[in-house]
Point group: C2
Chain length 288, copies 2
Amino acid sequence: MKITRAPAFVWHFRRRPSGYGGQVGGQATLMAIALVCALAITTSFAHAALAAEALAAVADALPSWNDGAAKKSVVEFVAKVTKEGGPDFVAPAERIAVFDNDGTLWCEQPLPVQLYFALDRVKALAPQHPEWKDKEPFASLLKGDLKTALAGGDHALLELVMATHAGMTTVEFEQIVKDWIATAKHPKTGKLFTEMTYQPMLEVLDYLRANGFKNYIVSGGGIEFMRPWTEKVYGIPPEQVVGSSIKTKFEMRDGKPVLVRLPELIVNDDKADKPVGINQQSGRRPIA
Amino acid sequence: MKITRAPAFVWHFRRRPSGYGGQVGGQATLMAIALVCALAITTSFAHAALAAEALAAVADALPSWNDGAAKKSVVEFVAKVTKEGGPDFVAPAERIAVFDNDGTLWCEQPLPVQLYFALDRVKALAPQHPEWKDKEPFASLLKGDLKTALAGGDHALLELVMATHAGMTTVEFEQIVKDWIATAKHPKTGKLFTEMTYQPMLEVLDYLRANGFKNYIVSGGGIEFMRPWTEKVYGIPPEQVVGSSIKTKFEMRDGKPVLVRLPELIVNDDKADKPVGINQQSGRRPIA
Protein backbone atom coordinates (compact mmCIF):
# COMPACT_ATOMS: atom_id res chain seq x y z
CA MET A 1 0.00 0.00 0.00
CA LYS A 2 1.51 3.27 -1.07
CA ILE A 3 1.34 5.97 1.53
CA THR A 4 2.03 9.64 1.14
CA ARG A 5 2.45 11.75 4.22
CA ALA A 6 0.01 14.57 4.74
CA PRO A 7 -0.41 17.04 7.59
CA ALA A 8 -2.85 14.70 9.19
CA PHE A 9 -4.08 11.23 8.78
CA VAL A 10 -7.34 9.58 8.00
CA TRP A 11 -7.82 6.08 6.74
CA HIS A 12 -11.11 5.19 5.18
CA PHE A 13 -12.67 1.77 5.01
CA ARG A 14 -15.54 0.65 2.90
CA ARG A 15 -16.35 -3.00 2.67
CA ARG A 16 -18.66 -4.29 0.01
CA PRO A 17 -19.71 -7.65 1.36
CA SER A 18 -19.86 -10.38 -1.23
CA GLY A 19 -23.15 -11.56 0.15
CA TYR A 20 -25.75 -10.21 2.47
CA GLY A 21 -26.15 -11.05 6.13
CA GLY A 22 -24.43 -13.16 8.70
CA GLN A 23 -20.75 -13.32 9.43
CA VAL A 24 -18.80 -13.20 6.22
CA GLY A 25 -15.43 -14.04 7.72
CA GLY A 26 -14.02 -16.23 5.01
CA GLN A 27 -14.81 -13.92 2.17
CA ALA A 28 -14.07 -10.54 3.65
CA THR A 29 -12.67 -8.09 1.17
CA LEU A 30 -11.39 -4.74 2.25
CA MET A 31 -10.67 -1.54 0.48
CA ALA A 32 -8.78 1.39 1.92
CA ILE A 33 -10.13 4.23 -0.15
CA ALA A 34 -8.47 7.59 -0.51
CA LEU A 35 -11.22 10.13 -0.23
CA VAL A 36 -9.27 13.30 -0.58
CA CYS A 37 -5.73 12.40 -1.51
CA ALA A 38 -7.06 9.70 -3.85
CA LEU A 39 -3.93 7.60 -3.77
CA ALA A 40 -4.20 4.37 -5.67
CA ILE A 41 -3.71 1.32 -3.52
CA THR A 42 -0.58 -0.09 -5.05
CA THR A 43 0.22 -2.90 -2.71
CA SER A 44 3.94 -3.15 -2.65
CA PHE A 45 5.89 -6.20 -1.65
CA ALA A 46 9.00 -4.21 -0.90
CA HIS A 47 8.26 -4.64 2.78
CA ALA A 48 7.42 -8.30 2.51
CA ALA A 49 9.77 -9.29 5.32
CA LEU A 50 8.33 -6.67 7.64
CA ALA A 51 4.81 -7.69 6.69
CA ALA A 52 5.42 -11.36 7.30
CA GLU A 53 6.83 -10.58 10.71
CA ALA A 54 3.96 -8.27 11.55
CA LEU A 55 1.43 -10.82 10.30
CA ALA A 56 2.80 -13.43 12.63
CA ALA A 57 2.71 -11.00 15.54
CA VAL A 58 -0.98 -10.28 15.05
CA ALA A 59 -2.03 -13.77 14.12
CA ASP A 60 -4.73 -13.59 16.75
CA ALA A 61 -5.86 -10.05 16.03
CA LEU A 62 -7.72 -10.82 12.80
CA PRO A 63 -8.71 -14.48 13.16
CA SER A 64 -11.70 -14.29 10.79
CA TRP A 65 -9.55 -13.09 7.92
CA ASN A 66 -8.02 -15.29 5.27
CA ASP A 67 -4.25 -14.97 5.07
CA GLY A 68 -4.57 -13.15 1.77
CA ALA A 69 -3.66 -9.85 0.16
CA ALA A 70 -6.35 -7.87 2.00
CA LYS A 71 -5.22 -8.91 5.45
CA LYS A 72 -1.61 -8.46 4.42
CA SER A 73 -2.24 -4.89 3.24
CA VAL A 74 -3.99 -3.95 6.48
CA VAL A 75 -1.28 -5.39 8.70
CA GLU A 76 1.52 -4.00 6.55
CA PHE A 77 -0.05 -0.56 6.59
CA VAL A 78 -0.50 -0.51 10.35
CA ALA A 79 3.04 -1.75 10.87
CA LYS A 80 4.41 1.07 8.74
CA VAL A 81 2.51 3.97 10.26
CA THR A 82 3.16 2.81 13.83
CA LYS A 83 6.90 2.21 13.34
CA GLU A 84 8.57 4.95 15.36
CA GLY A 85 11.36 6.61 13.44
CA GLY A 86 10.15 5.06 10.19
CA PRO A 87 9.48 7.20 7.10
CA ASP A 88 5.72 6.59 7.29
CA PHE A 89 5.29 7.03 11.03
CA VAL A 90 2.07 8.76 12.07
CA ALA A 91 1.85 10.15 15.59
CA PRO A 92 -0.81 8.41 17.72
CA ALA A 93 -2.88 11.62 18.02
CA GLU A 94 -3.19 11.72 14.23
CA ARG A 95 -4.22 8.10 13.75
CA ILE A 96 -7.81 8.30 12.64
CA ALA A 97 -9.55 5.62 10.60
CA VAL A 98 -12.99 6.23 9.16
CA PHE A 99 -15.51 3.53 8.33
CA ASP A 100 -18.71 3.44 6.39
CA ASN A 101 -21.47 1.76 8.40
CA ASP A 102 -24.30 0.29 6.29
CA GLY A 103 -22.95 -2.69 4.36
CA THR A 104 -19.54 -2.21 5.96
CA LEU A 105 -19.83 -2.63 9.72
CA TRP A 106 -23.36 -4.03 9.69
CA CYS A 107 -25.81 -5.27 7.07
CA GLU A 108 -27.74 -3.11 4.62
CA GLN A 109 -29.77 -5.80 2.89
CA PRO A 110 -32.58 -6.22 2.03
CA LEU A 111 -32.97 -2.61 3.21
CA PRO A 112 -30.82 -0.21 5.26
CA VAL A 113 -31.59 -0.73 8.95
CA GLN A 114 -32.63 2.88 9.47
CA LEU A 115 -35.42 2.39 6.96
CA TYR A 116 -36.87 -0.39 9.12
CA PHE A 117 -36.74 2.06 12.00
CA ALA A 118 -38.66 4.64 9.97
CA LEU A 119 -41.26 2.05 8.92
CA ASP A 120 -41.81 0.93 12.50
CA ARG A 121 -42.15 4.57 13.56
CA VAL A 122 -44.78 5.18 10.88
CA LYS A 123 -46.79 2.28 12.25
CA ALA A 124 -46.36 3.53 15.82
CA LEU A 125 -47.34 7.10 14.92
CA ALA A 126 -50.20 6.23 12.55
CA PRO A 127 -52.96 6.57 15.17
CA GLN A 128 -51.94 10.22 15.62
CA HIS A 129 -51.98 10.80 11.86
CA PRO A 130 -55.32 9.69 10.39
CA GLU A 131 -54.46 11.72 7.27
CA TRP A 132 -51.70 9.23 6.43
CA LYS A 133 -54.34 6.73 5.26
CA ASP A 134 -54.76 8.81 2.08
CA LYS A 135 -51.29 10.25 1.76
CA GLU A 136 -48.26 8.68 0.09
CA PRO A 137 -45.80 7.30 0.96
CA PHE A 138 -47.60 6.60 4.25
CA ALA A 139 -50.76 5.04 2.78
CA SER A 140 -48.88 2.30 0.91
CA LEU A 141 -46.56 1.68 3.83
CA LEU A 142 -49.43 1.16 6.21
CA LYS A 143 -50.91 -1.35 3.76
CA GLY A 144 -47.57 -3.16 3.80
CA ASP A 145 -46.81 -2.20 0.20
CA LEU A 146 -43.21 -1.04 0.54
CA LYS A 147 -42.53 -1.08 -3.18
CA THR A 148 -45.21 1.47 -4.03
CA ALA A 149 -44.28 3.57 -1.00
CA LEU A 150 -40.66 3.84 -2.08
CA ALA A 151 -41.52 4.36 -5.77
CA GLY A 152 -41.59 8.08 -4.93
CA GLY A 153 -37.78 7.96 -4.70
CA ASP A 154 -35.79 10.47 -2.70
CA HIS A 155 -38.79 12.71 -2.17
CA ALA A 156 -40.83 9.94 -0.58
CA LEU A 157 -37.86 8.87 1.49
CA LEU A 158 -37.25 12.37 2.77
CA GLU A 159 -40.90 12.75 3.72
CA LEU A 160 -40.74 9.47 5.57
CA VAL A 161 -37.58 10.47 7.42
CA MET A 162 -38.86 13.88 8.45
CA ALA A 163 -42.20 12.51 9.68
CA THR A 164 -40.40 10.01 11.91
CA HIS A 165 -37.12 11.71 12.85
CA ALA A 166 -38.20 15.30 13.55
CA GLY A 167 -40.57 17.12 15.88
CA MET A 168 -39.19 15.78 19.15
CA THR A 169 -36.22 16.81 21.30
CA THR A 170 -32.81 15.19 20.85
CA VAL A 171 -33.25 13.49 24.22
CA GLU A 172 -36.64 12.08 23.25
CA PHE A 173 -35.30 10.88 19.91
CA GLU A 174 -32.35 9.18 21.59
CA GLN A 175 -34.73 7.27 23.83
CA ILE A 176 -36.92 6.25 20.87
CA VAL A 177 -33.85 4.89 19.08
CA LYS A 178 -32.59 3.09 22.20
CA ASP A 179 -35.96 1.45 22.79
CA TRP A 180 -36.23 0.36 19.16
CA ILE A 181 -32.68 -0.93 18.70
CA ALA A 182 -32.94 -3.00 21.89
CA THR A 183 -35.55 -5.29 20.33
CA ALA A 184 -35.71 -4.70 16.55
CA LYS A 185 -34.84 -7.80 14.55
CA HIS A 186 -33.69 -8.50 11.03
CA PRO A 187 -36.65 -9.74 8.94
CA LYS A 188 -34.79 -12.72 7.49
CA THR A 189 -32.35 -13.91 10.15
CA GLY A 190 -34.47 -13.03 13.16
CA LYS A 191 -31.35 -11.71 14.89
CA LEU A 192 -31.16 -8.34 16.58
CA PHE A 193 -29.90 -5.73 14.12
CA THR A 194 -27.04 -5.04 16.52
CA GLU A 195 -25.98 -8.66 16.00
CA MET A 196 -25.95 -8.21 12.22
CA THR A 197 -22.42 -6.86 12.29
CA TYR A 198 -19.48 -8.19 10.29
CA GLN A 199 -17.10 -10.08 12.54
CA PRO A 200 -14.02 -9.36 10.37
CA MET A 201 -14.71 -5.65 10.61
CA LEU A 202 -15.18 -5.76 14.38
CA GLU A 203 -11.74 -7.35 14.48
CA VAL A 204 -10.30 -4.54 12.35
CA LEU A 205 -11.81 -1.97 14.72
CA ASP A 206 -10.18 -3.71 17.69
CA TYR A 207 -6.91 -4.14 15.84
CA LEU A 208 -6.67 -0.47 14.88
CA ARG A 209 -7.69 0.66 18.36
CA ALA A 210 -4.98 -1.51 19.86
CA ASN A 211 -2.56 0.28 17.53
CA GLY A 212 -3.50 3.73 18.74
CA PHE A 213 -6.14 4.61 16.15
CA LYS A 214 -9.37 6.46 16.81
CA ASN A 215 -12.11 4.83 14.73
CA TYR A 216 -14.75 7.07 13.19
CA ILE A 217 -17.97 6.20 11.41
CA VAL A 218 -18.77 8.32 8.37
CA SER A 219 -22.14 7.15 7.17
CA GLY A 220 -25.04 8.28 5.03
CA GLY A 221 -27.14 7.20 8.02
CA GLY A 222 -28.35 9.69 10.60
CA ILE A 223 -25.86 10.82 13.24
CA GLU A 224 -28.46 10.71 15.99
CA PHE A 225 -29.79 7.36 14.82
CA MET A 226 -26.30 5.86 15.25
CA ARG A 227 -24.89 7.60 18.29
CA PRO A 228 -27.10 5.90 20.90
CA TRP A 229 -25.65 2.43 20.18
CA THR A 230 -22.31 2.70 18.31
CA GLU A 231 -20.26 2.74 21.50
CA LYS A 232 -21.82 -0.48 22.76
CA VAL A 233 -21.75 -2.26 19.41
CA TYR A 234 -18.50 -0.99 17.88
CA GLY A 235 -16.71 0.77 20.73
CA ILE A 236 -17.08 4.03 18.80
CA PRO A 237 -18.11 6.98 21.03
CA PRO A 238 -20.67 9.58 19.89
CA GLU A 239 -18.09 12.26 19.09
CA GLN A 240 -16.54 9.90 16.51
CA VAL A 241 -19.76 9.37 14.59
CA VAL A 242 -20.30 11.47 11.45
CA GLY A 243 -23.45 11.14 9.41
CA SER A 244 -26.44 12.82 7.88
CA SER A 245 -28.15 15.31 10.10
CA ILE A 246 -31.17 17.53 10.38
CA LYS A 247 -31.35 20.95 11.97
CA THR A 248 -31.91 21.40 15.68
CA LYS A 249 -33.04 24.46 17.55
CA PHE A 250 -32.32 25.51 21.12
CA GLU A 251 -35.56 26.12 23.05
CA MET A 252 -36.93 26.31 26.56
CA ARG A 253 -39.65 23.70 27.15
CA ASP A 254 -41.36 23.55 30.53
CA GLY A 255 -38.53 25.64 31.89
CA LYS A 256 -35.89 23.24 30.63
CA PRO A 257 -33.44 23.88 27.82
CA VAL A 258 -33.77 21.41 24.97
CA LEU A 259 -32.72 20.94 21.37
CA VAL A 260 -35.72 20.37 19.09
CA ARG A 261 -35.24 18.37 15.90
CA LEU A 262 -36.54 20.24 12.86
CA PRO A 263 -37.69 18.67 9.56
CA GLU A 264 -34.88 20.25 7.59
CA LEU A 265 -31.85 18.44 6.25
CA ILE A 266 -28.40 19.90 7.01
CA VAL A 267 -26.41 17.36 5.10
CA ASN A 268 -27.01 14.04 3.42
CA ASP A 269 -23.60 12.66 4.30
CA ASP A 270 -23.18 10.41 1.30
CA LYS A 271 -20.98 10.17 -1.79
CA ALA A 272 -19.12 13.46 -2.47
CA ASP A 273 -20.39 14.88 0.82
CA LYS A 274 -18.48 12.26 2.81
CA PRO A 275 -15.13 14.04 2.52
CA VAL A 276 -17.00 17.22 3.48
CA GLY A 277 -18.26 15.48 6.62
CA ILE A 278 -14.82 14.09 7.47
CA ASN A 279 -13.31 17.54 7.19
CA GLN A 280 -16.08 19.20 9.15
CA GLN A 281 -15.94 16.72 12.02
CA SER A 282 -12.26 15.84 12.24
CA GLY A 283 -10.35 18.60 10.47
CA ARG A 284 -7.96 15.92 9.20
CA ARG A 285 -7.07 14.92 5.68
CA PRO A 286 -6.78 11.33 4.42
CA ILE A 287 -3.39 10.00 3.47
CA ALA A 288 -4.51 6.59 2.24
CA MET B 1 -21.28 23.21 42.61
CA LYS B 2 -24.36 21.11 42.18
CA ILE B 3 -24.00 18.33 39.69
CA THR B 4 -26.69 16.16 38.23
CA ARG B 5 -25.70 13.06 36.35
CA ALA B 6 -26.68 12.85 32.73
CA PRO B 7 -25.97 10.24 30.06
CA ALA B 8 -22.89 12.12 29.11
CA PHE B 9 -20.82 14.93 30.30
CA VAL B 10 -19.87 18.33 29.01
CA TRP B 11 -18.56 21.18 31.06
CA HIS B 12 -18.63 24.60 29.55
CA PHE B 13 -16.37 27.49 30.39
CA ARG B 14 -16.83 31.08 29.50
CA ARG B 15 -14.57 33.62 31.07
CA ARG B 16 -15.38 37.27 30.86
CA PRO B 17 -12.07 38.95 31.53
CA SER B 18 -12.33 41.95 33.74
CA GLY B 19 -10.00 43.87 31.50
CA TYR B 20 -8.61 43.49 28.06
CA GLY B 21 -5.23 42.04 27.14
CA GLY B 22 -2.25 40.63 28.90
CA GLN B 23 -2.23 37.99 31.59
CA VAL B 24 -5.09 38.49 33.97
CA GLY B 25 -4.00 35.96 36.55
CA GLY B 26 -4.97 37.70 39.72
CA GLN B 27 -8.45 38.62 38.66
CA ALA B 28 -9.53 35.55 36.83
CA THR B 29 -13.18 34.79 37.25
CA LEU B 30 -14.66 31.63 35.98
CA MET B 31 -18.11 30.45 35.25
CA ALA B 32 -19.14 26.91 34.53
CA ILE B 33 -22.27 27.41 32.51
CA ALA B 34 -24.91 24.81 31.96
CA LEU B 35 -25.82 25.04 28.32
CA VAL B 36 -28.45 22.40 28.06
CA CYS B 37 -29.18 21.09 31.52
CA ALA B 38 -29.04 24.63 32.84
CA LEU B 39 -28.18 23.70 36.38
CA ALA B 40 -27.62 26.62 38.61
CA ILE B 41 -24.18 26.77 40.10
CA THR B 42 -24.97 26.45 43.74
CA THR B 43 -21.56 26.13 45.21
CA SER B 44 -21.94 23.93 48.19
CA PHE B 45 -19.54 23.72 51.06
CA ALA B 46 -20.71 20.29 52.08
CA HIS B 47 -17.54 18.85 50.65
CA ALA B 48 -15.30 21.46 52.18
CA ALA B 49 -12.95 18.89 53.64
CA LEU B 50 -12.59 17.14 50.32
CA ALA B 51 -12.09 20.44 48.56
CA ALA B 52 -9.41 21.62 50.97
CA GLU B 53 -7.55 18.39 50.51
CA ALA B 54 -7.87 18.55 46.74
CA LEU B 55 -6.80 22.17 46.70
CA ALA B 56 -3.62 21.33 48.51
CA ALA B 57 -2.90 18.46 46.15
CA VAL B 58 -3.13 20.67 43.08
CA ALA B 59 -1.48 23.71 44.59
CA ASP B 60 0.85 23.83 41.63
CA ALA B 61 -1.72 23.09 38.93
CA LEU B 62 -3.37 26.53 38.95
CA PRO B 63 -0.63 28.87 40.17
CA SER B 64 -2.07 32.00 38.50
CA TRP B 65 -5.36 31.66 40.34
CA ASN B 66 -6.25 33.38 43.57
CA ASP B 67 -7.23 30.95 46.31
CA GLY B 68 -10.85 32.06 46.05
CA ALA B 69 -14.26 30.65 45.32
CA ALA B 70 -13.68 30.26 41.58
CA LYS B 71 -10.56 28.14 42.00
CA LYS B 72 -12.25 26.20 44.77
CA SER B 73 -15.26 25.39 42.62
CA VAL B 74 -13.10 24.16 39.75
CA VAL B 75 -10.96 21.96 41.97
CA GLU B 76 -13.94 20.67 43.93
CA PHE B 77 -15.81 19.83 40.77
CA VAL B 78 -12.89 17.95 39.24
CA ALA B 79 -12.29 16.07 42.49
CA LYS B 80 -15.92 14.92 42.56
CA VAL B 81 -16.28 13.74 38.98
CA THR B 82 -12.95 11.91 39.04
CA LYS B 83 -13.55 10.14 42.37
CA GLU B 84 -14.02 6.50 41.44
CA GLY B 85 -16.98 4.94 43.19
CA GLY B 86 -18.29 8.38 44.15
CA PRO B 87 -21.86 9.44 43.38
CA ASP B 88 -20.71 12.03 40.83
CA PHE B 89 -18.08 9.92 39.09
CA VAL B 90 -17.85 10.45 35.34
CA ALA B 91 -16.00 7.86 33.28
CA PRO B 92 -12.84 9.24 31.62
CA ALA B 93 -14.27 8.68 28.11
CA GLU B 94 -17.16 10.99 28.98
CA ARG B 95 -15.09 13.82 30.43
CA ILE B 96 -15.46 16.62 27.93
CA ALA B 97 -15.04 20.29 28.77
CA VAL B 98 -15.95 22.96 26.25
CA PHE B 99 -14.46 26.45 26.15
CA ASP B 100 -15.35 29.62 24.37
CA ASN B 101 -12.31 31.10 22.62
CA ASP B 102 -12.51 34.85 21.97
CA GLY B 103 -12.32 36.66 25.30
CA THR B 104 -11.97 33.35 27.13
CA LEU B 105 -8.81 31.59 25.98
CA TRP B 106 -7.36 34.56 24.10
CA CYS B 107 -8.16 38.26 23.78
CA GLU B 108 -11.06 39.75 21.84
CA GLN B 109 -10.34 43.44 22.38
CA PRO B 110 -10.27 45.91 20.75
CA LEU B 111 -11.57 43.57 17.99
CA PRO B 112 -11.89 39.80 17.62
CA VAL B 113 -8.62 38.44 16.20
CA GLN B 114 -10.32 36.91 13.18
CA LEU B 115 -11.44 40.36 12.11
CA TYR B 116 -7.82 41.49 11.94
CA PHE B 117 -7.19 38.48 9.75
CA ALA B 118 -10.06 39.50 7.43
CA LEU B 119 -8.78 43.08 7.28
CA ASP B 120 -5.27 41.96 6.39
CA ARG B 121 -6.69 39.67 3.72
CA VAL B 122 -8.68 42.53 2.20
CA LYS B 123 -5.47 44.54 1.90
CA ALA B 124 -3.60 41.57 0.41
CA LEU B 125 -6.37 40.83 -2.09
CA ALA B 126 -7.18 44.43 -3.03
CA PRO B 127 -4.93 44.50 -6.15
CA GLN B 128 -7.05 41.67 -7.59
CA HIS B 129 -10.27 43.55 -6.79
CA PRO B 130 -10.15 47.07 -8.25
CA GLU B 131 -13.93 47.25 -7.80
CA TRP B 132 -13.45 47.32 -4.00
CA LYS B 133 -12.35 50.96 -4.25
CA ASP B 134 -15.98 51.94 -4.76
CA LYS B 135 -17.71 49.18 -2.85
CA GLU B 136 -18.49 49.05 0.86
CA PRO B 137 -17.38 47.75 3.27
CA PHE B 138 -14.13 47.36 1.30
CA ALA B 139 -13.74 51.00 0.23
CA SER B 140 -13.76 52.32 3.80
CA LEU B 141 -11.53 49.52 5.01
CA LEU B 142 -8.92 50.24 2.39
CA LYS B 143 -8.98 53.88 3.46
CA GLY B 144 -8.35 52.73 7.03
CA ASP B 145 -11.83 53.81 8.17
CA LEU B 146 -12.88 50.75 10.12
CA LYS B 147 -15.80 52.45 11.81
CA THR B 148 -17.61 53.29 8.58
CA ALA B 149 -16.77 49.88 7.15
CA LEU B 150 -18.37 48.06 10.07
CA ALA B 151 -21.34 50.43 10.27
CA GLY B 152 -23.05 48.06 7.83
CA GLY B 153 -23.46 45.58 10.71
CA ASP B 154 -23.82 41.86 10.16
CA HIS B 155 -24.33 42.27 6.44
CA ALA B 156 -21.04 44.10 6.00
CA LEU B 157 -19.28 41.61 8.23
CA LEU B 158 -20.61 38.66 6.28
CA GLU B 159 -19.52 40.21 3.01
CA LEU B 160 -16.08 40.78 4.45
CA VAL B 161 -15.83 37.21 5.71
CA MET B 162 -16.99 35.63 2.46
CA ALA B 163 -14.61 37.76 0.34
CA THR B 164 -11.65 36.68 2.45
CA HIS B 165 -12.56 33.17 3.68
CA ALA B 166 -14.10 31.55 0.58
CA GLY B 167 -13.10 30.76 -2.98
CA MET B 168 -9.99 28.73 -2.18
CA THR B 169 -9.50 25.08 -1.18
CA THR B 170 -9.40 24.05 2.47
CA VAL B 171 -5.69 23.27 2.08
CA GLU B 172 -4.98 26.71 0.62
CA PHE B 173 -6.98 28.42 3.36
CA GLU B 174 -5.14 26.48 6.05
CA GLN B 175 -1.83 27.70 4.64
CA ILE B 176 -3.07 31.32 4.48
CA VAL B 177 -4.07 31.12 8.14
CA LYS B 178 -0.80 29.48 9.16
CA ASP B 179 1.26 32.12 7.37
CA TRP B 180 -0.77 34.94 8.91
CA ILE B 181 -0.91 33.66 12.48
CA ALA B 182 2.86 33.08 12.48
CA THR B 183 3.55 36.80 12.29
CA ALA B 184 0.34 38.76 13.01
CA LYS B 185 0.60 40.99 16.06
CA HIS B 186 -1.81 42.65 18.42
CA PRO B 187 -2.13 46.36 17.53
CA LYS B 188 -1.66 47.57 21.10
CA THR B 189 0.69 45.14 22.82
CA GLY B 190 2.80 44.30 19.77
CA LYS B 191 2.75 40.65 20.83
CA LEU B 192 1.88 37.79 18.52
CA PHE B 193 -1.84 37.04 18.76
CA THR B 194 -0.92 33.51 19.79
CA GLU B 195 0.77 35.03 22.84
CA MET B 196 -2.38 36.97 23.75
CA THR B 197 -3.76 33.99 25.64
CA TYR B 198 -4.94 33.98 29.26
CA GLN B 199 -2.45 32.18 31.47
CA PRO B 200 -5.06 31.09 34.07
CA MET B 201 -7.10 29.44 31.33
CA LEU B 202 -4.09 27.65 29.88
CA GLU B 203 -3.59 26.26 33.38
CA VAL B 204 -7.21 25.10 33.51
CA LEU B 205 -6.77 23.34 30.15
CA ASP B 206 -3.69 21.53 31.48
CA TYR B 207 -5.37 20.75 34.77
CA LEU B 208 -8.45 19.23 33.15
CA ARG B 209 -6.35 17.30 30.65
CA ALA B 210 -4.29 15.87 33.51
CA ASN B 211 -7.59 14.73 35.02
CA GLY B 212 -8.68 12.81 31.95
CA PHE B 213 -10.76 15.49 30.23
CA LYS B 214 -10.86 16.18 26.53
CA ASN B 215 -10.96 19.95 26.01
CA TYR B 216 -13.12 21.31 23.19
CA ILE B 217 -13.38 24.82 21.81
CA VAL B 218 -16.90 25.96 20.92
CA SER B 219 -16.51 29.38 19.41
CA GLY B 220 -18.34 31.83 17.22
CA GLY B 221 -15.04 32.02 15.33
CA GLY B 222 -14.46 29.98 12.18
CA ILE B 223 -13.57 26.31 12.61
CA GLU B 224 -11.00 26.44 9.84
CA PHE B 225 -9.55 29.69 11.12
CA MET B 226 -8.86 28.05 14.49
CA ARG B 227 -7.87 24.49 13.64
CA PRO B 228 -4.45 25.30 12.11
CA TRP B 229 -3.07 26.60 15.43
CA THR B 230 -5.22 25.44 18.39
CA GLU B 231 -3.17 22.30 18.93
CA LYS B 232 0.07 24.23 19.21
CA VAL B 233 -1.36 27.06 21.32
CA TYR B 234 -3.87 25.22 23.53
CA GLY B 235 -3.10 21.53 23.00
CA ILE B 236 -6.56 21.17 21.44
CA PRO B 237 -6.52 19.00 18.28
CA PRO B 238 -8.61 19.89 15.19
CA GLU B 239 -11.33 17.31 15.86
CA GLN B 240 -12.07 19.06 19.18
CA VAL B 241 -12.68 22.47 17.64
CA VAL B 242 -16.28 23.50 17.00
CA GLY B 243 -17.09 26.84 15.43
CA SER B 244 -18.82 28.71 12.68
CA SER B 245 -18.40 27.20 9.26
CA ILE B 246 -19.08 27.79 5.62
CA LYS B 247 -20.00 25.19 3.04
CA THR B 248 -17.37 23.18 1.21
CA LYS B 249 -17.70 21.20 -1.99
CA PHE B 250 -15.77 18.16 -3.14
CA GLU B 251 -14.15 18.77 -6.54
CA MET B 252 -11.36 17.51 -8.77
CA ARG B 253 -8.82 20.25 -9.53
CA ASP B 254 -5.88 19.46 -11.82
CA GLY B 255 -6.63 15.82 -11.27
CA LYS B 256 -6.51 16.14 -7.50
CA PRO B 257 -9.45 15.88 -5.12
CA VAL B 258 -10.02 19.02 -3.07
CA LEU B 259 -12.63 20.69 -0.91
CA VAL B 260 -13.49 24.16 -2.16
CA ARG B 261 -14.75 26.74 0.33
CA LEU B 262 -18.02 28.32 -0.79
CA PRO B 263 -19.35 31.75 0.26
CA GLU B 264 -22.31 30.27 2.09
CA LEU B 265 -22.69 30.08 5.85
CA ILE B 266 -23.60 26.71 7.39
CA VAL B 267 -23.78 27.90 10.95
CA ASN B 268 -22.86 30.98 12.92
CA ASP B 269 -21.90 29.06 16.03
CA ASP B 270 -22.82 31.69 18.56
CA LYS B 271 -25.40 32.21 21.31
CA ALA B 272 -28.28 29.69 21.05
CA ASP B 273 -26.48 27.85 18.26
CA LYS B 274 -23.64 26.90 20.59
CA PRO B 275 -25.52 24.01 22.20
CA VAL B 276 -26.49 22.97 18.66
CA GLY B 277 -22.79 22.88 17.73
CA ILE B 278 -21.85 20.96 20.88
CA ASN B 279 -24.49 18.36 20.15
CA GLN B 280 -23.58 18.11 16.48
CA GLN B 281 -19.87 17.69 17.13
CA SER B 282 -19.76 15.71 20.35
CA GLY B 283 -23.15 14.05 20.74
CA ARG B 284 -22.84 14.69 24.49
CA ARG B 285 -25.04 16.67 26.83
CA PRO B 286 -23.78 19.07 29.49
CA ILE B 287 -24.25 18.17 33.13
CA ALA B 288 -22.83 21.35 34.61
